[in-house]
């Protein structure tokens, strides 16, 4: 997509005719065939391609599921059961869609942590990173609404709790919540609009992904050294066949894991309570979201105290609003990452201190995920408070401080030098 030096040559008269009218083949060729990628990319760089494939997979399985699904509170639960039992291959399509969402998130988390480790968000890739955060947020909204559709107990109560977040906003909160629900509680209007939006948002996601890839192709990929490409000929290879094959191989491995879940552990990642029809008069004893939301859920529940001015009764933020702000804040802070970490050295490979804090941060996220799955009692709440503090401290205190204080290791002068040095050592 980089303007100017296109390598595309139409193979025949028809393609030439097309190229002069709508150069779409040229665009595809320049973006996915001739496009130069650094030759030292490792396997962590294959997750972008895996993500694109999983998005397409969710679209395909979702559109066919929608042919059998009925979005009314009387029928939704039964229509899912009929997809599972009566519709030809319905069991397969639904399990692919439900587990596909989980694997989509697994891939996106790896992709995000890859970006954090190699400093992919640093100039000139800020817009690319921010688009990625938007994609992540839209994914979360999409799968939240998708999870409501089967109309099980977890569907219903997840919808209640998440729309309840908006009631924390002072004064306009409750009207906003009723506007979202279309009633005073989750019901038919809610289910219908969630279905409508669950159909729409994935297409907005496609739009964002196109922008994301466009931005990527303007600035080029990073690589494990964090040094920009200096010599196209020596340091890059064409996307096809090199990156295509590497990505396909990684995809095949990822698909094997996916297939194992779809065929042998189809309900492992779900919750058994979602096979109980939604009951507006009974909350399950222990509500948990899908695994990929658990860290945020732990942050939400960590605030069991009002925030006020010490030694007075003045409350600035009640516990509920504080939890909601912290939960959304944990996503919003990602948008500012390019400016919170302003160290000159890009890749974590050459930042010994940063690297330690990166792994601590990864453990904090996993720890929060574990705590999100536990009941909100006693020691679990205290632990969640400590880890929530650590989460925000990483972005707001540690990264800016490291940017000033850390003395990085010397960075290789170019990718070619790094590769040569590595080959010599081996």
């Amino acid at each position: 997509m980089s303007g100017g030096h296109s390598k595309y040559v139409p193979v025949n008269g028809v393609m030439k005719w097309m190229d002069e009218r709508l150069p779409l083949p040229r665009l595809v060729y320049d973006s996915f065939v001739a496009y130069p990628v650094p030759r030292n990319l490792n396997n962590w760089y294959t997750f972008g391609a895996i993500l694109s494939i999983f998005m397409v997979l969710q679209l395909i399985t979702g559109i066919v599921l929608a042919m059998h699904y009925v979005s009314s509170t009387d029928m939704a639960f039964n229509s899912i059961e009929s997809i599972m039992r009566d519709v030809n291959f319905g069991w397969l399509l639904r399990r692919m869609h439900a587990n596909g969402a989980s694997f989509f998130f697994l891939a996106v988390y790896i992709h995000i942590f890859r970006g954090m480790y190699y400093g992919s968000y640093k100039a000139p890739r800020e817009v690319l990173w921010i688009l990625g955060v938007f994609i992540f947020i839209i994914m979360m909204a999409t799968s939240f609404m998708g999870y409501v559709l089967p109309w099980g107990q977890m569907s219903y109560w997840a919808a209640t709790v998440i729309t309840g977040l908006f009631s924390a906003i002072p004064i306009i909160g409750v009207p906003i919540q009723e506007w979202l629900l279309g009633g005073f509680a989750v019901g038919d209007p809610t289910l219908n609009r969630f279905f409508s939006l669950h159909y729409l948002l994935p297409f907005m996601l496609v739009g964002l992904v196109i922008l994301h890839v466009w931005a990527l192709h303007v600035v080029g990929q990073t690589n494990p050294t964090g040094v920009e490409v200096k010599d196209l000929k020596k340091e890059t290879v064409p996307f096809t066949p090199y990156a295509t094959m590497k990505d396909l191989f990684a995809l095949a491995l990822f698909f094997i894991l996916f297939a194992y879940f779809v065929f042998y552990l189809p309900d492992y990642l779900g919750h058994p309570d979602n096979y109980i029809r939604a009951n507006p008069l009974k909350t399950p004893a222990h509500i948990v979201p899908e695994w990929y939301f658990l860290p945020y859920y732990a942050i939400l529940r960590a605030f069991d105290f009002n925030i006020g001015i010490p030694f007075t009764d003045i409350v600035l933020l009640d516990s509920k609003l504080a939890g909601v702000i912290a939960m959304f804040g944990s996503l919003i802070v990602l948008l500012f990452l390019p400016w919170l970490d302003f160290a000159k050295t890009r890749s974590g490979n050459y930042r010994p201190l940063f690297r330690q804090f990166f792994w601590i941060f990864a453990l904090v996220c996993i720890g929060l995920g574990y705590l999100g799955s536990r009941p909100a009692e006693g020691g679990y709440v205290t632990a969640a408070q400590i880890l929530t503090t650590a989460y925000f401290a990483h972005f707001l205190i540690i990264l800016p401080l490291l940017s000033i204080l850390e003395k990085p290791k010397p960075v290789p002068p170019s990718i070619a030098d790094a590769i040569l040095a590595k080959n010599k050592a081996a």
């Binding site: 109560w157 209640t160 709790v161 998440i162 729309t163 309840g164 977040l165 009631s167 924390a168 009723e178 506007w179 979202l180 629900l181 279309g182 009633g183 005073f184 509680a185 989750v186 019901g187 209007p189 609009r193 507006p280 008069l281 009974k282 909350t283 399950p284 004893a285 222990h286 509500i287 939400l300 529940r301 605030f303 069991d304 009002n306 009640d318 516990s319 509920k320 609003l321 939890g323 009941p375 909100a376 009692e377 709440v381």
Partner: protein
């Protein structure tokens, strides 16, 4: 001098007027199209029509409670025992996380036990919207550290008068508009 000016420059006020009126009409037109798109999501007429219900409470013995549905939400109706009343009365307002009565039948007032109950002579009755003021789960009765209600979702404890005592919920359980229309029946809404 002034004659030359009117020759070369057209009268600005007339053109500005046209720009502004066109712009205003466009803005009003857009807004009046956008509003229906937003407002269609609000609770519709059939939802709003489910305004009030009547419940017979004569069979609820002290210590028992029922849950009824009103506007899609659960409503707890509980006949409290003397011991539970005692416990609720012995709490001073200063100890409460939310000192407001949250009772739609009163203009405002402190969260004293009498202000939370069905009132003088009917202090044993408590009628509340059974949706946790945190994020809307349904608390479980006769549970929690204060023997009132416990919300399993994120661990909020309410006392026997439905007042928030511990956990993330910010407010006491809400009391809807209701009244005893005779000795046995309550009208909610």
């Amino acid at each position: 001098m002034s004659a030359a000016k009117t020759d070369t420059l057209p009268d600005p006020s007339k053109r500005d007027f046209l720009y502004i009126t066109t712009g205003t009409a466009g803005a009003v037109g857009t807004a009046s199209f956008v509003w229906p798109l937003i407002d269609q999501m609000n609770p519709d007429a059939s939802t709003l029509a489910l305004a009030s219900i009547e419940v017979d409470v004569s069979s609820i013995e002290p210590g028992q409670a029922i849950t009824v549905q009103w506007r899609g939400k659960p409503v707890f109706i509980r006949n409290r025992t003397d011991k539970e009343l005692e416990e609720a009365r012995n709490v001073s307002i200063a100890e409460l996380k939310d000192p407001s009565s949250r009772n739609d039948n009163l203009d405002n007032g402190d969260a004293t036990d009498i202000n939370r109950s069905a009132g003088e002579g009917k202090e044993n009755w408590i009628v509340m919207i059974g949706s946790c003021t945190h994020l809307g789960c349904i608390p479980v009765g006769l549970a929690g550290e204060y023997n009132g209600w416990f919300c399993p979702c994120h661990g909020s404890h309410y006392d026997t008068a439905g007042r928030i005592r511990k956990g993330p919920a910010p407010e006491n359980l809400a009391i809807p508009k209701f009244q005893f229309i005779n000795e046995t029946n309550i009208k909610i809404g």
